[in-house]
């Protein structure tokens, strides 16, 4: 995927939400990444390091990546089930289901300050 541009998006998002003084104090960013987001955590970490060293920003900041599974919600059984091996079925009734309620996320979930 295009991890470098996503890292730049993280920086931009933070810079538009926090003041210069606050940005200086950020020591960790928690990123929530769904299995369907096509983001590879290891590549994201290297992209983060690359952009940090190229731009000189967020030098003391750690990137934590939380990978979340794919969940679908079945309206017939009113149950949520986890999708394994991309078999999009409700695990309760076994019917095909692509009503994804989790798994496409690409979010900054939490920001930690000194």
């Amino acid at each position: 995927m295009h991890e470098i541009s996503l890292v730049r998006n993280i920086f931009r998002t933070l810079e538009s939400n926090f003041s210069f003084e606050e940005l200086e104090k950020i020591n960790a960013i928690d990123l929530k990444v769904g299995l369907l987001s096509n983001v590879e955590p290891m590549l994201m970490q290297s992209a983060f390091e690359a952009v940090v060293s190229a731009e000189g920003k967020f030098q003391n900041t750690k990137l934590n990546i939380l990978l979340v599974p794919i969940l679908v919600h079945c309206t017939t059984c009113d149950q949520t089930s986890e999708i394994k091996e991309y078999n999009f079925v409700c695990t309760v009734c076994g019917k095909p289901n692509n009503n994804v309620v989790q798994g496409t996320e690409l979010l900054i979930e939490r920001v930690h300050f000194n």
Partner: protein
Amino acid sequence: MQIVRTSKNMRGSVQCDNTTMHLLQANDFVADAIRQEVRKRNILLINIVSSAGSGKTTLLQETAKRLKDKLNIKVLVGDLETERDAARIRQAGIDALQIVTGGICHLEAQMIWQAMQKLNLDNTDMLIIENVGNLVCPASFDLGEDYRVTLIATTEGDDKPKKYPRMFLTSELMLVSKADLLPYLPFSVEAVVKDAREINPTIEYLTVSSTSGQGLDEWCNWLLEKVKEKKETTQEKELVVS
């Protein structure tokens, strides 16, 4: 402000509001603007995606030949470099504009919005986006389209859908292309449809060949039908408003 601030001076950790700290937020914002614009102008917007070399441009050339007298069609085509694809589509008789991404692996809504300003969209029935040949990245970028159409060529192998699940999950129609080669290849249409429907039970499919012409009438009829539906739903909404 999207973050709950506990004090003027941030300390500890801060929970972010997920919807506003979404990394593709800028893209999705522009995609919504595109959706509104095409609805206002009564234009059907189609996003065509596939791997490189599965026959998107050739299909569009054949589509142009068959539909140019029935519909006013405009095409936006994305590639890393060159004007080649737009030139090919223009030769087939429809207006096409090339978006050169300069190395970017997908089209983003902002690129579509800018390109739309350069097209004359008056009286246009359908705007087709031919995305960059890539089944990974374009899947994550909403371009404001009404329908996403994924091509999978018989030369690619029938096990592709599970390898690129998000693309097939977000597509409404799958076109199995280069169907004229089916007798020579170990490719099963049944297997690819099964694989795709395990991800997306509602995905429709058509088998097409731009070389032999197989399935092209069905494909063109599908487009004509969707153009008609779009115009009807827009008119219904207008009636409700008035």
